[in-house]
Amino acid sequence: MTRFTRITSLMIALMPLPVLAEVQLTLGPCVKVQAVQGSEQTASAGQVMTLADGTAQLVVECTTEIGREEVLETSDAFVVRFNAADTELTLSAPDIDSRNEMDSFNQQGDWQLTDSQGERVAFTADVLKKEGFQLVRDYARELAAYNRSGAAAAVTAPAATAGPAPLTNQEGLLLDSHVDPDQEMVSRMLRYWYLKADEQTRKEWDSWVDSSNR
Protein backbone atom coordinates (compact mmCIF):
# COMPACT_ATOMS: atom_id res chain seq x y z
CA MET A 1 0.00 0.00 0.00
CA THR A 2 1.42 3.35 -0.99
CA ARG A 3 1.83 6.16 1.49
CA PHE A 4 -0.87 8.11 -0.37
CA THR A 5 -3.35 5.20 -0.14
CA ARG A 6 -2.65 4.71 3.57
CA ILE A 7 -3.25 8.40 4.32
CA THR A 8 -6.43 8.42 2.22
CA SER A 9 -7.71 5.29 4.01
CA LEU A 10 -6.94 6.82 7.39
CA MET A 11 -8.74 10.05 6.50
CA ILE A 12 -11.82 8.16 5.32
CA ALA A 13 -11.82 6.06 8.51
CA LEU A 14 -11.66 9.17 10.70
CA MET A 15 -14.16 11.19 8.68
CA PRO A 16 -17.43 11.64 10.57
CA LEU A 17 -20.08 10.06 8.39
CA PRO A 18 -23.74 10.99 8.77
CA VAL A 19 -25.52 7.99 10.28
CA LEU A 20 -29.30 7.88 10.32
CA ALA A 21 -30.05 5.51 13.16
CA GLU A 22 -33.12 7.33 14.32
CA VAL A 23 -36.34 8.91 13.16
CA GLN A 24 -36.51 12.64 12.54
CA LEU A 25 -40.11 13.77 12.91
CA THR A 26 -41.03 17.26 11.69
CA LEU A 27 -44.27 18.74 13.01
CA GLY A 28 -46.45 20.48 10.44
CA PRO A 29 -48.44 23.68 10.97
CA CYS A 30 -50.86 23.56 13.94
CA VAL A 31 -49.44 20.28 15.27
CA LYS A 32 -48.52 20.14 18.93
CA VAL A 33 -47.07 17.09 20.67
CA GLN A 34 -48.12 16.55 24.30
CA ALA A 35 -46.51 13.18 25.08
CA VAL A 36 -43.93 10.87 23.60
CA GLN A 37 -43.50 7.19 24.42
CA GLY A 38 -45.57 7.39 27.58
CA SER A 39 -44.03 10.48 29.14
CA GLU A 40 -45.04 14.10 28.88
CA GLN A 41 -42.95 15.98 26.33
CA THR A 42 -44.10 18.97 24.36
CA ALA A 43 -43.12 20.16 20.91
CA SER A 44 -44.75 22.73 18.67
CA ALA A 45 -45.37 23.19 14.97
CA GLY A 46 -42.21 23.47 12.92
CA GLN A 47 -39.99 21.73 15.46
CA VAL A 48 -38.10 18.54 14.68
CA MET A 49 -38.18 15.64 17.12
CA THR A 50 -35.68 12.82 17.21
CA LEU A 51 -37.21 9.46 18.00
CA ALA A 52 -35.72 6.00 18.35
CA ASP A 53 -36.20 3.41 15.62
CA GLY A 54 -39.14 1.12 16.14
CA THR A 55 -42.63 1.78 17.40
CA ALA A 56 -43.36 5.39 18.30
CA GLN A 57 -46.43 6.49 20.20
CA LEU A 58 -47.28 10.18 20.53
CA VAL A 59 -50.13 12.24 21.90
CA VAL A 60 -50.77 15.06 19.44
CA GLU A 61 -53.34 17.76 18.85
CA CYS A 62 -53.89 20.53 16.32
CA THR A 63 -54.44 24.14 17.43
CA THR A 64 -55.47 26.60 14.77
CA GLU A 65 -57.38 29.85 14.26
CA ILE A 66 -60.79 29.42 12.71
CA GLY A 67 -63.35 31.76 11.22
CA ARG A 68 -63.13 35.47 10.51
CA GLU A 69 -62.68 36.21 14.21
CA GLU A 70 -59.65 33.89 14.27
CA VAL A 71 -60.83 32.09 17.39
CA LEU A 72 -58.30 29.57 18.64
CA GLU A 73 -59.62 26.04 18.42
CA THR A 74 -57.83 22.90 19.55
CA SER A 75 -58.67 19.44 18.26
CA ASP A 76 -59.21 16.41 20.42
CA ALA A 77 -56.00 14.85 21.68
CA PHE A 78 -55.02 11.91 19.46
CA VAL A 79 -52.79 8.94 20.13
CA VAL A 80 -50.72 8.37 16.99
CA ARG A 81 -48.69 5.17 16.69
CA PHE A 82 -46.35 4.23 13.85
CA ASN A 83 -43.35 2.08 13.04
CA ALA A 84 -40.31 3.66 11.46
CA ALA A 85 -36.53 3.34 11.27
CA ASP A 86 -33.72 5.50 9.89
CA THR A 87 -35.98 7.97 8.19
CA GLU A 88 -37.31 11.51 8.14
CA LEU A 89 -41.05 11.92 8.58
CA THR A 90 -43.51 14.77 8.71
CA LEU A 91 -46.70 14.71 10.75
CA SER A 92 -49.33 17.20 9.65
CA ALA A 93 -53.04 17.90 9.78
CA PRO A 94 -55.28 19.10 6.96
CA ASP A 95 -56.09 22.82 6.67
CA ILE A 96 -58.80 23.58 9.20
CA ASP A 97 -60.60 26.91 8.74
CA SER A 98 -63.98 26.37 10.36
CA ARG A 99 -65.63 24.73 13.35
CA ASN A 100 -67.25 22.20 11.00
CA GLU A 101 -63.87 21.22 9.58
CA MET A 102 -62.57 20.85 13.13
CA ASP A 103 -65.53 18.61 14.04
CA SER A 104 -64.88 16.55 10.93
CA PHE A 105 -61.17 16.25 11.80
CA ASN A 106 -62.02 15.12 15.32
CA GLN A 107 -64.28 12.41 13.93
CA GLN A 108 -62.01 11.20 11.13
CA GLY A 109 -58.60 11.76 12.68
CA ASP A 110 -57.17 12.26 9.19
CA TRP A 111 -53.60 13.10 10.20
CA GLN A 112 -50.98 12.81 7.49
CA LEU A 113 -47.66 11.05 8.07
CA THR A 114 -45.29 11.28 5.12
CA ASP A 115 -41.64 10.50 4.45
CA SER A 116 -39.09 12.79 2.79
CA GLN A 117 -40.33 11.71 -0.66
CA GLY A 118 -43.87 12.69 0.25
CA GLU A 119 -44.99 9.06 0.37
CA ARG A 120 -47.62 8.23 2.97
CA VAL A 121 -46.45 6.19 5.93
CA ALA A 122 -48.87 3.85 7.71
CA PHE A 123 -49.98 4.85 11.19
CA THR A 124 -52.84 4.33 13.61
CA ALA A 125 -54.64 7.29 15.20
CA ASP A 126 -57.22 7.25 17.95
CA VAL A 127 -58.81 9.89 20.17
CA LEU A 128 -57.48 10.10 23.72
CA LYS A 129 -60.70 11.14 25.40
CA LYS A 130 -60.92 12.66 28.81
CA GLU A 131 -64.22 13.50 30.36
CA GLY A 132 -64.75 16.23 32.93
CA PHE A 133 -62.52 19.25 33.50
CA GLN A 134 -59.96 19.67 30.72
CA LEU A 135 -57.89 22.55 32.10
CA VAL A 136 -55.08 20.28 33.23
CA ARG A 137 -54.52 16.90 31.64
CA ASP A 138 -52.11 14.26 32.84
CA TYR A 139 -51.22 12.76 29.48
CA ALA A 140 -48.75 10.24 30.88
CA ARG A 141 -51.36 8.78 33.18
CA GLU A 142 -54.09 8.89 30.55
CA LEU A 143 -51.79 7.21 28.06
CA ALA A 144 -50.91 4.44 30.52
CA ALA A 145 -54.63 3.76 31.05
CA TYR A 146 -55.19 3.94 27.30
CA ASN A 147 -52.46 1.39 26.63
CA ARG A 148 -53.88 -0.99 29.23
CA SER A 149 -57.26 -0.81 27.47
CA GLY A 150 -55.83 -2.41 24.34
CA ALA A 151 -57.47 0.27 22.14
CA ALA A 152 -56.62 0.88 18.49
CA ALA A 153 -53.39 2.85 18.91
CA ALA A 154 -52.26 1.25 22.18
CA VAL A 155 -48.83 -0.22 22.69
CA THR A 156 -48.53 -3.14 25.05
CA ALA A 157 -45.35 -1.91 26.72
CA PRO A 158 -44.86 1.88 26.79
CA ALA A 159 -41.40 2.40 25.43
CA ALA A 160 -39.84 5.05 27.59
CA THR A 161 -41.28 5.57 31.00
CA ALA A 162 -39.26 6.89 33.90
CA GLY A 163 -39.09 3.50 35.59
CA PRO A 164 -39.42 -0.06 34.37
CA ALA A 165 -42.69 -0.54 32.53
CA PRO A 166 -45.16 -2.95 34.12
CA LEU A 167 -45.13 -6.33 32.42
CA THR A 168 -48.25 -7.30 30.56
CA ASN A 169 -49.35 -10.42 28.80
CA GLN A 170 -50.75 -10.53 25.28
CA GLU A 171 -54.12 -9.35 26.52
CA GLY A 172 -52.55 -6.31 28.11
CA LEU A 173 -53.07 -7.62 31.65
CA LEU A 174 -50.63 -6.72 34.35
CA LEU A 175 -48.12 -9.47 35.11
CA ASP A 176 -46.33 -8.18 38.15
CA SER A 177 -44.93 -10.76 40.54
CA HIS A 178 -45.55 -8.37 43.44
CA VAL A 179 -49.19 -7.92 42.56
CA ASP A 180 -51.69 -9.85 44.60
CA PRO A 181 -52.95 -12.83 42.52
CA ASP A 182 -56.48 -11.72 43.37
CA GLN A 183 -55.76 -8.40 41.69
CA GLU A 184 -54.67 -10.18 38.55
CA MET A 185 -58.03 -11.95 38.54
CA VAL A 186 -59.77 -8.60 39.11
CA SER A 187 -57.82 -7.12 36.21
CA ARG A 188 -58.74 -10.12 34.03
CA MET A 189 -62.44 -9.87 34.93
CA LEU A 190 -62.55 -6.11 34.38
CA ARG A 191 -61.09 -6.52 30.94
CA TYR A 192 -63.45 -9.42 30.17
CA TRP A 193 -66.57 -7.47 31.06
CA TYR A 194 -65.31 -4.29 29.40
CA LEU A 195 -64.89 -6.14 26.11
CA LYS A 196 -68.35 -7.68 26.58
CA ALA A 197 -70.01 -4.31 27.19
CA ASP A 198 -71.77 -2.35 24.47
CA GLU A 199 -70.76 1.22 23.56
CA GLN A 200 -73.22 2.87 25.94
CA THR A 201 -72.13 0.72 28.87
CA ARG A 202 -68.47 1.43 28.11
CA LYS A 203 -69.19 5.19 28.07
CA GLU A 204 -70.94 4.92 31.42
CA TRP A 205 -68.04 2.88 32.76
CA ASP A 206 -65.50 5.41 31.47
CA SER A 207 -67.47 8.24 33.07
CA TRP A 208 -67.66 6.38 36.34
CA VAL A 209 -63.92 5.73 36.32
CA ASP A 210 -63.16 9.38 35.53
CA SER A 211 -65.50 10.65 38.20
CA SER A 212 -63.97 8.25 40.72
CA ASN A 213 -60.85 10.46 40.85
CA ARG A 214 -58.53 7.59 39.97
Binding site: S44, A45, G54
Partner: protein, 322 residues
Protein backbone atom coordinates in the same frame (compact mmCIF):
# COMPACT_ATOMS: atom_id res chain seq x y z
CA UNK B 1 -29.79 -1.35 25.67
CA UNK B 2 -31.86 0.08 22.92
CA UNK B 3 -31.96 3.81 22.95
CA UNK B 4 -35.63 4.53 23.35
CA UNK B 5 -35.78 8.26 23.14
CA UNK B 6 -32.64 9.84 21.84
CA UNK B 7 -33.47 13.48 22.15
CA UNK B 8 -36.36 15.81 21.98
CA UNK B 9 -35.32 19.38 21.33
CA UNK B 10 -38.27 20.68 23.23
CA UNK B 11 -39.39 21.67 26.67
CA UNK B 12 -40.60 19.13 29.16
CA UNK B 13 -43.71 19.69 31.19
CA UNK B 14 -43.34 18.64 34.77
CA UNK B 15 -46.89 17.67 35.60
CA UNK B 16 -49.97 18.13 33.54
CA UNK B 17 -50.46 19.98 30.28
CA UNK B 18 -52.68 23.00 29.99
CA UNK B 19 -55.56 22.82 27.57
CA UNK B 20 -56.75 26.41 27.37
CA UNK B 21 -59.88 26.49 25.25
CA UNK B 22 -61.93 23.50 26.41
CA UNK B 23 -62.71 23.86 30.08
CA UNK B 24 -65.14 21.01 30.60
CA UNK B 25 -66.30 18.09 28.49
CA UNK B 26 -68.51 15.28 29.69
CA UNK B 27 -71.51 13.28 28.53
CA UNK B 28 -71.88 15.31 25.35
CA UNK B 29 -71.59 18.68 27.11
CA UNK B 30 -68.71 20.98 26.19
CA UNK B 31 -67.74 24.35 27.64
CA UNK B 32 -65.05 26.37 25.88
CA UNK B 33 -63.57 29.67 26.92
CA UNK B 34 -61.50 31.78 24.55
CA UNK B 35 -59.75 35.04 25.32
CA UNK B 36 -58.39 37.72 23.01
CA UNK B 37 -56.43 40.59 24.55
CA UNK B 38 -54.90 43.23 22.30
CA UNK B 39 -53.42 46.50 23.50
CA UNK B 40 -51.44 48.96 21.43
CA UNK B 41 -49.67 52.29 21.43
CA UNK B 42 -51.19 54.28 18.60
CA UNK B 43 -51.06 57.63 16.96
CA UNK B 44 -53.92 57.65 14.48
CA UNK B 45 -53.67 59.03 10.97
CA UNK B 46 -54.84 62.67 11.00
CA UNK B 47 -53.86 66.25 11.76
CA UNK B 48 -52.26 66.89 15.16
CA UNK B 49 -53.15 63.45 16.51
CA UNK B 50 -51.50 62.39 19.79
CA UNK B 51 -50.12 58.98 20.72
CA UNK B 52 -52.15 57.02 23.26
CA UNK B 53 -52.74 53.52 24.56
CA UNK B 54 -55.66 51.88 22.76
CA UNK B 55 -57.51 48.67 23.51
CA UNK B 56 -58.53 46.86 20.38
CA UNK B 57 -59.82 43.55 21.63
CA UNK B 58 -60.38 42.66 25.25
CA UNK B 59 -62.77 39.77 24.88
CA UNK B 60 -63.84 36.68 26.75
CA UNK B 61 -65.84 34.29 24.59
CA UNK B 62 -67.93 31.55 26.16
CA UNK B 63 -69.14 28.65 24.03
CA UNK B 64 -71.30 25.79 25.29
CA UNK B 65 -72.74 22.87 23.38
CA UNK B 66 -74.78 19.78 24.07
CA UNK B 67 -74.74 16.69 21.87
CA UNK B 68 -78.43 15.83 21.48
CA UNK B 69 -77.76 12.67 19.49
CA UNK B 70 -78.70 11.88 15.88
CA UNK B 71 -76.15 14.46 14.64
CA UNK B 72 -78.01 17.27 16.40
CA UNK B 73 -76.13 19.72 18.63
CA UNK B 74 -77.50 22.57 20.71
CA UNK B 75 -75.10 25.46 21.28
CA UNK B 76 -74.92 28.87 22.90
CA UNK B 77 -72.42 31.68 22.89
CA UNK B 78 -71.84 34.62 25.20
CA UNK B 79 -69.06 37.11 24.43
CA UNK B 80 -68.03 39.86 26.77
CA UNK B 81 -65.89 42.75 25.58
CA UNK B 82 -64.05 45.07 27.93
CA UNK B 83 -62.61 47.42 25.31
CA UNK B 84 -64.92 50.34 26.10
CA UNK B 85 -64.54 49.79 29.82
CA UNK B 86 -60.77 50.12 29.45
CA UNK B 87 -60.80 52.86 26.83
CA UNK B 88 -63.57 55.10 28.12
CA UNK B 89 -63.33 54.32 31.81
CA UNK B 90 -66.82 52.82 31.79
CA UNK B 91 -67.86 50.36 34.43
CA UNK B 92 -68.55 46.75 33.54
CA UNK B 93 -68.35 44.93 30.26
CA UNK B 94 -70.11 45.19 26.95
CA UNK B 95 -72.14 42.21 25.79
CA UNK B 96 -70.91 41.67 22.24
CA UNK B 97 -72.63 38.41 21.29
CA UNK B 98 -75.36 36.39 22.96
CA UNK B 99 -77.15 33.69 21.01
CA UNK B 100 -78.30 30.10 21.05
CA UNK B 101 -78.88 27.67 18.21
CA UNK B 102 -79.08 24.19 16.82
CA UNK B 103 -76.65 22.48 14.49
CA UNK B 104 -77.66 19.55 12.31
CA UNK B 105 -75.01 18.11 10.03
CA UNK B 106 -73.70 20.89 7.79
CA UNK B 107 -76.37 23.41 8.77
CA UNK B 108 -76.79 25.53 11.87
CA UNK B 109 -79.55 27.88 12.95
CA UNK B 110 -79.06 30.54 15.61
CA UNK B 111 -80.89 33.53 17.00
CA UNK B 112 -80.05 36.34 19.38
CA UNK B 113 -77.43 39.09 19.44
CA UNK B 114 -74.89 38.18 16.77
CA UNK B 115 -73.11 39.13 13.54
CA UNK B 116 -74.95 39.35 10.22
CA UNK B 117 -74.03 37.06 7.33
CA UNK B 118 -72.34 39.99 5.55
CA UNK B 119 -69.86 40.32 8.43
CA UNK B 120 -68.02 37.42 6.77
CA UNK B 121 -67.24 39.68 3.79
CA UNK B 122 -64.00 41.57 3.26
CA UNK B 123 -60.29 41.09 2.66
CA UNK B 124 -58.85 44.15 4.41
CA UNK B 125 -55.69 43.32 6.40
CA UNK B 126 -55.11 46.51 8.40
CA UNK B 127 -54.85 46.35 12.17
CA UNK B 128 -56.66 49.71 12.35
CA UNK B 129 -58.31 51.85 9.67
CA UNK B 130 -59.10 55.47 10.47
CA UNK B 131 -60.76 57.32 7.62
CA UNK B 132 -62.53 54.50 5.77
CA UNK B 133 -64.58 51.47 6.82
CA UNK B 134 -63.33 47.91 6.31
CA UNK B 135 -65.84 47.58 3.47
CA UNK B 136 -69.30 48.90 2.64
CA UNK B 137 -71.03 46.35 4.86
CA UNK B 138 -68.94 47.55 7.79
CA UNK B 139 -70.26 51.00 6.92
CA UNK B 140 -73.95 50.04 6.96
CA UNK B 141 -73.88 47.61 9.91
CA UNK B 142 -72.90 43.99 10.42
CA UNK B 143 -74.38 42.99 13.76
CA UNK B 144 -77.68 43.17 15.57
CA UNK B 145 -79.50 42.02 18.67
CA UNK B 146 -82.68 40.66 17.05
CA UNK B 147 -80.88 38.49 14.51
CA UNK B 148 -81.80 35.12 13.03
CA UNK B 149 -79.00 33.43 11.14
CA UNK B 150 -78.50 30.23 9.13
CA UNK B 151 -75.08 28.86 8.16
CA UNK B 152 -74.59 26.01 5.69
CA UNK B 153 -71.12 24.62 5.15
CA UNK B 154 -70.84 22.23 2.21
CA UNK B 155 -67.73 20.55 0.80
CA UNK B 156 -66.65 23.57 -1.26
CA UNK B 157 -69.38 26.10 -0.64
CA UNK B 158 -70.24 28.22 2.38
CA UNK B 159 -73.59 29.99 2.59
CA UNK B 160 -74.80 32.26 5.37
CA UNK B 161 -78.08 34.15 5.54
CA UNK B 162 -79.37 36.42 8.30
CA UNK B 163 -82.29 38.65 9.13
CA UNK B 164 -82.28 41.46 11.65
CA UNK B 165 -85.89 41.92 12.62
CA UNK B 166 -87.61 45.26 12.42
CA UNK B 167 -87.46 46.73 15.89
CA UNK B 168 -88.02 50.00 17.65
CA UNK B 169 -84.79 49.90 19.61
CA UNK B 170 -84.10 53.50 18.63
CA UNK B 171 -80.87 55.08 17.48
CA UNK B 172 -79.44 55.28 20.99
CA UNK B 173 -79.52 51.48 21.24
CA UNK B 174 -77.42 51.06 18.13
CA UNK B 175 -79.53 48.87 15.86
CA UNK B 176 -82.67 50.50 14.55
CA UNK B 177 -83.34 48.98 11.18
CA UNK B 178 -84.39 45.87 9.31
CA UNK B 179 -81.61 43.93 7.58
CA UNK B 180 -81.55 40.97 5.17
CA UNK B 181 -78.05 39.64 4.52
CA UNK B 182 -76.63 36.89 2.33
CA UNK B 183 -73.04 35.70 2.01
CA UNK B 184 -71.65 33.00 -0.31
CA UNK B 185 -68.05 31.80 -0.60
CA UNK B 186 -66.36 29.09 -2.62
CA UNK B 187 -62.94 28.04 -3.87
CA UNK B 188 -62.09 27.33 -7.51
CA UNK B 189 -58.59 26.01 -8.30
CA UNK B 190 -57.08 27.81 -5.32
CA UNK B 191 -58.98 31.04 -6.02
CA UNK B 192 -61.23 31.98 -3.11
CA UNK B 193 -64.31 33.85 -4.26
CA UNK B 194 -67.02 35.47 -2.16
CA UNK B 195 -70.09 37.59 -2.70
CA UNK B 196 -72.45 39.33 -0.29
CA UNK B 197 -75.70 41.24 -0.45
CA UNK B 198 -77.52 43.30 2.14
CA UNK B 199 -80.84 45.07 2.12
CA UNK B 200 -81.25 47.64 4.87
CA UNK B 201 -84.35 49.59 5.73
CA UNK B 202 -83.62 51.99 8.53
CA UNK B 203 -86.34 52.40 11.09
CA UNK B 204 -88.86 54.95 9.87
CA UNK B 205 -87.27 55.26 6.41
CA UNK B 206 -89.35 54.78 3.29
CA UNK B 207 -86.50 53.62 1.02
CA UNK B 208 -84.01 50.79 1.38
CA UNK B 209 -80.22 50.90 1.11
CA UNK B 210 -78.94 47.99 -0.93
CA UNK B 211 -75.30 46.94 -0.61
CA UNK B 212 -73.48 44.28 -2.58
CA UNK B 213 -69.88 43.17 -2.78
CA UNK B 214 -67.54 40.68 -4.43
CA UNK B 215 -64.07 39.56 -3.36
CA UNK B 216 -61.30 37.29 -4.60
CA UNK B 217 -58.14 36.00 -3.02
CA UNK B 218 -55.34 33.76 -4.27
CA UNK B 219 -52.44 32.18 -2.44
CA UNK B 220 -49.32 32.28 -4.62
CA UNK B 221 -47.29 30.47 -1.98
CA UNK B 222 -44.95 33.35 -1.16
CA UNK B 223 -47.85 35.82 -1.08
CA UNK B 224 -51.59 35.93 -0.63
CA UNK B 225 -53.14 38.58 -2.88
CA UNK B 226 -56.73 39.69 -2.36
CA UNK B 227 -59.15 42.37 -3.54
CA UNK B 228 -62.74 43.31 -2.87
CA UNK B 229 -65.27 45.76 -4.25
CA UNK B 230 -68.50 46.76 -2.53
CA UNK B 231 -71.14 49.35 -3.29
CA UNK B 232 -74.11 50.85 -1.47
CA UNK B 233 -77.09 52.21 -3.36
CA UNK B 234 -78.06 54.93 -0.88
CA UNK B 235 -81.61 55.56 -2.10
CA UNK B 236 -82.66 57.81 0.81
CA UNK B 237 -79.87 60.24 -0.21
CA UNK B 238 -80.01 59.37 -3.92
CA UNK B 239 -76.29 58.55 -3.90
CA UNK B 240 -73.89 55.69 -4.55
CA UNK B 241 -71.02 54.82 -2.19
CA UNK B 242 -68.35 52.56 -3.64
CA UNK B 243 -65.29 51.07 -1.95
CA UNK B 244 -62.46 48.83 -3.07
CA UNK B 245 -59.62 47.22 -1.13
CA UNK B 246 -56.42 45.55 -2.28
CA UNK B 247 -54.17 43.67 0.15
CA UNK B 248 -51.14 41.39 -0.02
CA UNK B 249 -49.78 39.28 2.81
CA UNK B 250 -46.22 37.92 2.65
CA UNK B 251 -45.12 35.12 4.97
CA UNK B 252 -41.50 36.30 5.24
CA UNK B 253 -40.78 33.64 7.88
CA UNK B 254 -42.72 30.91 9.66
CA UNK B 255 -43.21 33.36 12.51
CA UNK B 256 -43.59 36.63 10.59
CA UNK B 257 -46.24 38.03 8.26
CA UNK B 258 -45.97 41.33 6.42
CA UNK B 259 -49.14 42.87 4.99
CA UNK B 260 -49.56 45.88 2.72
CA UNK B 261 -52.82 47.21 1.41
CA UNK B 262 -54.96 50.16 0.48
CA UNK B 263 -58.62 51.06 0.31
CA UNK B 264 -60.56 53.75 -1.50
CA UNK B 265 -64.06 55.07 -0.81
CA UNK B 266 -65.92 57.17 -3.35
CA UNK B 267 -69.06 58.63 -1.77
CA UNK B 268 -71.43 60.74 -3.87
CA UNK B 269 -72.44 62.49 -0.65
CA UNK B 270 -68.87 63.79 -0.19
CA UNK B 271 -66.85 66.19 -2.33
CA UNK B 272 -63.70 64.01 -2.47
CA UNK B 273 -62.98 60.33 -2.41
CA UNK B 274 -60.73 58.98 0.38
CA UNK B 275 -57.75 56.69 -0.05
CA UNK B 276 -55.99 55.04 2.88
CA UNK B 277 -52.99 52.72 2.76
CA UNK B 278 -51.21 50.70 5.40
CA UNK B 279 -48.30 48.34 5.97
CA UNK B 280 -47.94 46.11 9.01
CA UNK B 281 -45.79 43.32 10.35
CA UNK B 282 -46.89 40.62 12.82
CA UNK B 283 -44.47 38.37 14.68
CA UNK B 284 -45.79 35.25 16.41
CA UNK B 285 -43.51 33.76 19.02
CA UNK B 286 -42.47 30.26 17.90
CA UNK B 287 -42.84 28.84 21.41
CA UNK B 288 -46.40 30.14 21.71
CA UNK B 289 -48.00 31.38 18.53
CA UNK B 290 -50.93 32.59 20.60
CA UNK B 291 -48.70 35.50 21.56
CA UNK B 292 -47.85 38.05 18.89
CA UNK B 293 -46.40 41.53 18.60
CA UNK B 294 -47.19 43.83 15.72
CA UNK B 295 -46.53 47.26 14.24
CA UNK B 296 -48.24 49.28 11.54
CA UNK B 297 -47.91 52.54 9.65
CA UNK B 298 -50.88 54.06 7.85
CA UNK B 299 -51.67 57.19 5.86
CA UNK B 300 -54.72 58.70 4.19
CA UNK B 301 -55.26 61.63 1.82
CA UNK B 302 -57.85 63.28 4.05
CA UNK B 303 -57.36 66.99 4.69
CA UNK B 304 -58.80 69.03 7.52
CA UNK B 305 -60.95 72.12 6.99
CA UNK B 306 -57.82 74.31 6.81
CA UNK B 307 -56.49 72.19 3.95
CA UNK B 308 -53.75 70.56 6.01
CA UNK B 309 -52.72 67.03 5.04
CA UNK B 310 -53.12 64.18 7.50
CA UNK B 311 -49.94 63.01 9.24
CA UNK B 312 -48.87 59.41 8.98
CA UNK B 313 -50.27 57.21 11.75
CA UNK B 314 -48.44 54.41 13.47
CA UNK B 315 -49.05 51.80 16.11
CA UNK B 316 -47.25 48.99 17.91
CA UNK B 317 -48.78 46.47 20.27
CA UNK B 318 -49.14 42.97 21.59
CA UNK B 319 -51.88 40.35 21.35
CA UNK B 320 -52.40 37.38 23.64
CA UNK B 321 -55.00 34.75 22.79
CA UNK B 322 -56.10 31.50 24.34
Amino acid sequence: MKKLLLAVAVSTVAAGSVNAATVYEKDGFTYKLNGDFQVQFRQATGVDERAEVEFDDLELKNYVSYDLGNDLTAFGRLDFGFKDAAEKDENGSNLEEAFVGLKYGVASFSFGKQNFASDEFGIEEAIEVEDIDEDRFDGTGTDGDDTIRIDIELENLYIAASHEMKTTDGATSGIDGEYYDLFVATELAGLELAAAYQQLKEFGASDTMNTWGVSASYDFGFMNLAADYSMTDDKPNNADIAQYNVAAVFAVASTTDVAVGMGNVDDDNEADDVTEWYANVTYKFPEAKNVSVFAEIAQSDVENSAGEDADMGFLAGMRVKF
